[in-house]
Each structure stands twice: as structure tokens, then as C-alpha cells.
């Protein structure tokens, strides 16, 4: 369980994190979604005490992170997979974590096996690791203390599609065993695939949050009919706002409601379906457009989706 309450962080006049409040529940994967520079990493660093907050607070398992006697045993943290001494081997980095947390020695080999790093790879220096290998090593280090809570900043960065699937299954299993997972991403697609709950952040503020189901539901319905004008009129008469979208209409009414209205008005439908994440995606793109930085990643997200 992670509780973030009215958390703010200002740098001079700049509000990097602005009154952020949300809860990550046990048994669920919570996705922290936002464009680069939205305040995700700063929020996560405040959670684990690396950055002091300006106001508000974050608790993990009911306590401030700095009050945990041996934090690695309760919270697994991966903030930046590349923040390691390039001259250490992967195995050495895990050994340092294992000794600090006072875990049994065998834990290092167990974790290497869990994240599929071979014996030879574990003996290599981290400067020779790909980003994907560093992420796997970072996840191994986060899990080595057998924690209840995971806090992962952009863990899917650098993983190939098979790696993303592997991580999804790993985190799903962790949550199913009652663990709490908070992971951040700037890619909507990644979060859609992995998370149960989503917190969307833009320019330091939470702009939307809820279960993935709720957020996607809020995106409404996409419908195509023989006569769009008549359908739009019928939906408007029933109190539903509509707008033209691609070849059809978008409305916030449910598919049931649209079907009922169309039947009553005697309009033949050609296509009727939930509008998927279109609403979420549009909101997300609007956020990204403001920061003017993510043009390439957006294209990637679109292509990946």
C-alpha cells in the first residue's frame, strides 16, 4: 500500500509536483502515466526519501520510507537502471544489495535466474550491459529483499516486446500474491498492457485517475451508421453529445444506450463498439503536445499500439 497525499515539490517558481494525491493498493498494479518531465520521477524520488518534498507526504505500508528499519525488505525500488557503477559486475551489484539487506547468499543466484541473466552475463561489467539487461538487473535488485511493495520508474524502457511481456507476467504474479506495484511510463500502451489502475500526471498535476476499466469506459462509444445526421440528431435528442470521428460518430453514451436509441429511431448501424482508449489517448496526447518534447515517442507509442 502506497499513500501519496497532497504532495508538492517546487524548484524556485517551478512546481515540478503539484498537489499529487493517490493510493496504490495491494493486489493491484498501479500505472503512473505521463509525458517526460511531468513529475513522475520526482514523485517517486520523494516517496523513497531521495528528494525532500516541499509539502504533503507519502507513506508506504503506513510509514514514511525513512522510518523503515530495513527498507529493502519491504519496498523494492528501481529508479534508474543505469545509475550503477559501470565497473561492477551484475552479480556484484546484487551481492551488495543482498548483504545490505542481510538476505541469504543464495538469493543472488535465485534473482539472476528469475530475471534470466546467464552466469556469463552476471559476470560481465555493467558498462557492457544493454539497457534491457540493466532493467532486468534492476528488477532483480528490487526483488532481492522479497518486498511487499514495488516502486519502478520506467522499468519497461529498453525491453523488447518479449521482455515487456515477461515483465507484465512477473508484476501480475507479484500483485496476485498480494503485492503492491507502482510503475511509471511515458507510453500509454505499456501502461494499458500492465496496469490495473492508472494515475495520469501532466505538468506536475494528476489529471485523471481510476481503474483502467473506468478510464477506458469514460472514452465512450464509436458508432457508424447509414445516416450519421439522423443518428446524431436522435442521440442529441436523447441527451447525448456527439462528435464526428473518422468515418463515424463518437459519443460518451454507452454501447447499450446507442443501440437502444438507434433501434427506436429506426436507423441501421454498421459498426458499434467501445471507443477503446481513444479518450485517454487524446488526453494523453494533449498533455504531451504541451511539453513539445515527445514527438518521436508518441509516434512509437502509436506504432506499438
Amino acid at each position: 500500500m502506497i499513500n501519496v497525499s497532497h504532495l508538492s515539490k517546487t524548484y524556485g517558481a517551478f512546481r515540478a509536483v503539484d498537489d499529487v494525491t493517490f493510493t496504490a493498493h495491494p493486489g493491484r498494479v498501479t500505472g503512473f502515466l505521463g509525458p517526460n518531465g511531468a513529475g513522475k520521477s520526482t514523485t517517486m524520488r520523494i516517496m523513497v526519501g531521495l528528494t525532500p518534498s516541499s509539502s504533503g507526504e507519502a507513506t508506504i505500508l503506513g510509514r514514511h520510507y525513512s522510518d523503515l528499519p530495513n527498507p529493502g525488505r519491504e519496498v523494492g525500488v528501481l529508479l534508474d537502471a543505469s545509475a550503477q557503477h559501470a565497473g561492477r559486475t551484475g552479480r556484484e551489484i546484487l551481492t551488495i544489495a543482498q548483504r545490505t539487506m542481510r538476505m541469504p547468499k543464495g538469493r543472488v543466484e535465485d534473482m539472476l535466474a528469475l530475471v534470466s541473466l546467464t552466469d556469463e552475463e552476471a559476470g560481465r561489467r555493467v558498462r557492457d550491459y544493454s539497457l534491457g539487461m540493466r532493467q532486468r538487473l534492476g528488477i532483480a535488485a528490487a526483488l532481492i529483499g522479497d518486498p511487499e511493495v514495488l516502486i519502478l520508474d520506467e522499468p519497461a524502457n529498453g525491453l523488447d516486446p518479449a521482455g515487456i511481456r515477461w515483465m507484465r507476467d512477473l508484476l501480475r504474479g507479484f500483485a496476485n500474491h498480494g503485492g503492491t506495484v507502482l510503475l511509471s511510463s511515458h507510453l500509454l500502451h505499456e501502461i494499458e498492457v500492465i496496469a490495473d489502475d492508472i494515475v495520469v500526471i501532466g505538468q506536475g498535476r494528476v489529471v485523471a485517475q481510476g481503474t483502467k476499466h473506468e478510464l477506458l469506459e469514460a472514452a465512450g462509444t464509436y458508432v457508424r451508421a447509414a445516416d450519421h445526421a439522423a443518428l446524431a440528431a436522435a442521440l442529441n435528442a436523447a441527451g447525448h453529445h456527439t462528435e464526428q470521428s473518422d468515418q463515424g460518430l463518437r459519443t460518451e453514451a454507452t454501447t447499450d444506450e446507442v443501440g437502444t436509441v438507434a433501434l427506436a429511431a429506426g436507423i441501421a448501424l454498421r459498426e458499434l463498439r467501445p471507443a477503446d482508449g481513444a479518450g485517454l489517448e487524446e488526453m494523453f496526447l494533449a498533455l504531451t503536445a504541451d511539453t513539445q518534447r515527445d514527438d518521436t515517442t508518441d509516434t512509437n507509442a502509436g506504432a506499438a499500439a
Binding site: H25, P26, G27, R28, R45, V48, G49, L50, T51, P52, Y65, S66, L68, P69, N70, P71, G72, R73, E74, V77, L79, D80, S82, A83, Q84, H85, A86, G87, R88, E92, I93, I96, A97, R99, T100, M101, R102, A141, E148, A175, N176, H177, G178, G179, T180
Partner: protein
């Protein structure tokens, strides 16, 4: 109470609450010290930095055997020759133990596993002091070996012209140099800046101070109360009077303790990125 919580409405969330509710022991200081010591040796650069202590001792010893005249094949010469590389390497080791957490960004992991930064810094300080003492003892042993060999080769009697008190002075002088390196590391949190800072402190400032003392009578009198390095290197000559100790303490407080306290204060509050 237990029957109530075990009621059938167990959601996925509740299973966790019972997964484990152990209270963990705080991480003991000896664990942190052990890990920090390991981190000083477990990279190539760290390992060779440590190895350089032994290597430089051997080179310095060899140089005395080869180049010093027969009547100077004494323990004092060997100890003096070995002491020079030591005054450079030990402060660098001390500075890097701190700065690598920032320069290599390992602090992100270190301070997440041990949120109490002061405990990490104290562990590093104790470790570097232990390394300093060990290094000097190793160096003195290498020097002793050199003294035996050198005097044999030169055909002169082996002279042990160093007292225990002189050894303690050397330890103190090197110890303060090491603390200066540590202080600069804490203050700058950047490897290059700390090392440059140490060379400025140990090489540039003394020259300027000596020039000024030569040119200005008032400074020649005041120097010992201003120049910490002057007092610190004075330790290598030994024979301190009460006034020497007093000026060492005064300058040490200004040059060592104040910056260290300020640096620590910043380390505890700064943002680790």
C-alpha cells in the same frame, strides 16, 4: 478480532495483509561498514587504487636502495620516501569513497537501501580511517624490509632510527590528510573537484603561504594560526610543543571541522538524482 478479519469477504487486497507482517531489524552499522568496504575494492579502479599503496611503497623503497648513499640507508629514509606517495593516495581514496556515490550515481541505490545518509557517511569515514592505518603499517613493514636489504647491500649496519612516537606522528599527519580528502569529497560530491581541491590544498596553498610568510613579517608570525597544511605537515617532523598542538587544533577546526560539518549538512539535505 481474528474471526472478523478472516470473514469470507477476503478480496485480493486482504491476502497481502496476511502475507507477512514481520518487523525487521534495523541494518546494523557493521553491515553498512562491511558493504562500504567491499565497494572500495570491487571495481578495477578501486582495486588498483588500493594496490597502488603497496606498489608505490615498493617503488619508493627500491628507489632509496638504489639511489640513496650508504650512510642514508636508514629506516628514517625509507619511511620518509614511502610517506610521500601515501600523503597523495590516502586522501584520494577517502575523497572517492564519498564522491563515487554521486559521480557514478550509485547513491540512488545506496541511499534507498539505507535512507539514513549520516550512517552511510560515518561507515565510510570509519572504513577509510581503518584503510589509512592499515596502509601506513603495511608501508612501514615494506620500508623495514627495504632497510634490511638496503643496509646489507651497502655493507653498513642496519639502523632503526625511528621511535614509536615518530610513527605516531606519521600516522597523525597522514590521518589528517586523509580527513582533508574526505572533507573535500563530502563538500564537493564530485570526484574531479575533490581531487583538484586536494592538490590545491596540498601543493598550491603551501607555496603561496610560504611566499607570503617570506615577504610579510606579520604573516610569518600569524601563519601557524592560519595555515592548517603548515601544521599538518609539521607533524611529519614530530616534536610538537603545546603551542604546536594548539595551532594545529585551531587551524584544524577552521579547515577541517567547519567544512566537514557544512558538507555533511548539505549531504543530508541534498537531492539524490
Amino acid at each position: 478480532m481474528s474471526t472478523a478479519t478472516l470473514a469470507p469477504t477476503t478480496g485480493v487486497g486482504e491476502q497481502v495483509a496476511r502475507k507477512k507482517r514481520t518487523t525487521y531489524e534495523p541494518i546494523p552499522m557493521r553491515t553498512i561498514m562491511g558493504v562500504e568496504l567491499r565497494k572500495m575494492f570491487d571495481t578495477r579502479s578501486g582495486f588498483w587504487l588500493m594496490a597502488s599503496i603497496v606498489i608505490l611503497s615498493v617503488i619508493a623503497t627500491g628507489a632509496v636502495i638504489l639511489f640513496a648513499p650508504a650512510d642514508e640507508q636508514t629506516y628514517d629514509s625509507f619511511a620518509g620516501a614511502i610517506g610521500i606517495p601515501m600523503t597523495i593516495v590516502l586522501p584520494i581514496i577517502a575523497a572517492l569513497s564519498i564522491t563515487s556515490e554521486w559521480s557514478q550515481r550509485t547513491g540512488l541505490t545506496t541511499f534507498t537501501m539505507v535512507p539514513s545518509r549520516s550512517r552511510v557517511v560515518v561507515a565510510k569515514l570509519i572504513d577509510t580511517v581503518l584503510i589509512g592505518i592499515t596502509s601506513i603499517l603495511v608501508a612501514l613493514a615494506v620500508g623495514a624490509l627495504g632497510n634490511v636489504i638496503g643496509s646489507q647491500l651497502a655493507g653498513v649496519p642496519t639502523t632503526w632510527d625511528m621511535t614509536v612516537s615518530e610513527v605516531l606522528y606519521i600516522l597523525a599527519g597522514n590521518g589528517l590528510g586523509l580527513l582533508m580528502g574526505f572533507t573535500l569529497g563530502v563538500l564537493f560530491r564530485n570526484s574531479a573537484a575533490a581531487i583538484v581541491g586536494y592538490f590545491v590544498y596540498s601543493m598550491v596553498l603551501p607555496t603561496l603561504s610560504a611566499l607570503l610568510a617570506g615577504a610579510q613579517d606579520w604573516y610569518a608570525d600569524a601563519q601557524r594560526w592560519v595555515d592548517f597544511q603548515f601544521n599538518q605537515t609539521g607533524l611529519f617532523d614530530g616534536g610538537f610543543t603545546a603551542q604546536d598542538w594548539a595551532s594545529l587544533a585551531v587551524t584544524g577546526a577552521a579547515w577541517l571541522l567547519l567544512p566537514l560539518a557544512f558538507g555533511l549538512w548539505r549531504v543530508l539535505r541534498s537531492e539524490v538524482k
